[in-house]
Symmetry: C2
């Protein structure tokens, strides 16, 4: 009898943001293949009997080729096992799940996709940034800094000021990112939020503007970048943040007392 | 002492797709204000002691004005209660959470946003449609059929064939939607999936093309519309669906045996 493969979203990091379904499936797994982006706290929930592979594709480190991951999934499926492909966030956004599903279909192995809380939505929740807003933002564009092939080919040439951008894996060259977004028509004062390690104890939220984005030091942590007028509504968590924010906002500076608490 | 308001994502419908955090907060709530989009099964989890308001804004029905919802949140917060604003899917995508957060900040009431599994991501998971794909789709555009003001102002004028569109509350006029997407440059053979009541026992998935979209009968159910080349990778769940799909695909017809099982 053939096994079954579950492509499961582990959510953004906080184990409390796992779904009941993800937890139930994880708990009964024979084999788990997980990303670098799955948090330590969630990996600690994996049952002791399970075979575990870290097949992470973290930036700047050696990684398991996608073809090898596909082959693992198929091989364990043919062995009749219950296999979990555990991905940070949601499995269907920039997770290469399309390629894994095609491999499983070709091999005739049953599979199911279990959606999760996407890291970008969690970053917005932590920062209290509405991704859409009746008066400010009518659409959301979800992009990645690691597009396949030419970046300029994979990002829209024109970006309206009424769109919110949510950029996964934004890369390390924020100067190039800012240049490209300015060339796409965004104003240099457009506010940005750089959110790292969202929903974990190591979460960091940096508020800045497109013009000042290159000055943000990007470290090797899971990071998402939010760009758009809605970022102006982000929560300010300390006086220090208020001042940094006002300073970085330049022309569109608001006095700290104008900011919501 | 002031209370606290939680803006909580209830997920797409299946109670197993609630997060542990959403469940914990729901379980300790004094007051719950919920949408029409929150499923019956999830409403059944609400503790008996809680005050419950249905403030749903379902299409074509009378609804609670946003200002009144905001006033409820503030009033209960001032009463020192633990208030949950429970929204279908994720609270920050087309949920008017921005307006609620502004009202709460102005009133000085503490609040927290708890992200959820967005209905669009769950619809993609049920249909086994990867929202992005290295070879096919480099970005995701999240739109709504119920934009504020002029629809043509809120949707991008040009949509590249490499974008996947995820349209929440797509409205009832699929002919107008198809016309607008064709005018934005999409090919008439672009595949579409209409997914209603996702992750519930009443889930329906209709696969079609942009050209044939107007022939889909849209009933009064929570629905999302997926448009883009990745929809061609959707799972086919029955022979009947295969034939309907091949028929609707027209020029780009594939024989049933070419489709994955």
């Amino acid at each position: 009898m053939s096994g079954k493969v579950y492509l499961v979203g582990a959510g953004p990091g906080d184990p409390e943001l796992l779904t009941f379904k993800a937890w139930r499936i994880l708990n009964s797994a024979d084999v788990i293949l997980h990303d670098e982006l799955v948090s330590e706290e969630i990996l600690a929930l994996i049952p002791a009997k399970a075979i575990v592979h870290n097949v992470g594709k973290r930036a700047r480190r050696s990684s398991t080729p996608q073809a090898e991951i596909n082959a693992h999934l198929v091989r364990y499926g043919w062995m009749g096992l219950r296999v979990v492909r555990l991905k940070g966030g949601d499995p269907l956004i920039f997770g290469r799940a399309g390629e894994e599903m095609e491999a499983l279909r070709t091999a005739g192995i049953d599979f199911e996709v279990v959606p999760g809380v996407s890291a970008g939505l969690a970053a917005a929740a932590s920062s209290q940034i509405p991704l859409t807003h009746r008066q400010i933002a009518s659409s959301l564009m979800v992009l990645t800094g690691h597009g396949s092939g030419d970046r300029s080919g994979s990002w829209p040439a024109r970006i309206p000021a009424t769109a919110t951008l949510l950029i996964y894996m934004p890369g390390y060259d924020f100067a190039a990112t800012a240049r490209q977004l300015l060339a796409a028509g965004l104003d240099k004062a457009t506010p940005c939020a750089v959110v790292a390690n969202t929903t974990t104890a190591q979460e960091e939220i940096h508020l800045t503007s497109l013009e000042e984005l290159p000055s943000i030091v990007r470290r090797e942590q899971p990071t998402v970048l939010l760009v758009g007028e809605v970022v102006r509504l982000a929560r300010i968590r300390s006086r220090a943040e208020v001042f940094a924010h006002s300073f970085l906002m330049g022309d569109k500076q608001r006095a700290p007392e104008d900011w919501p608490a």
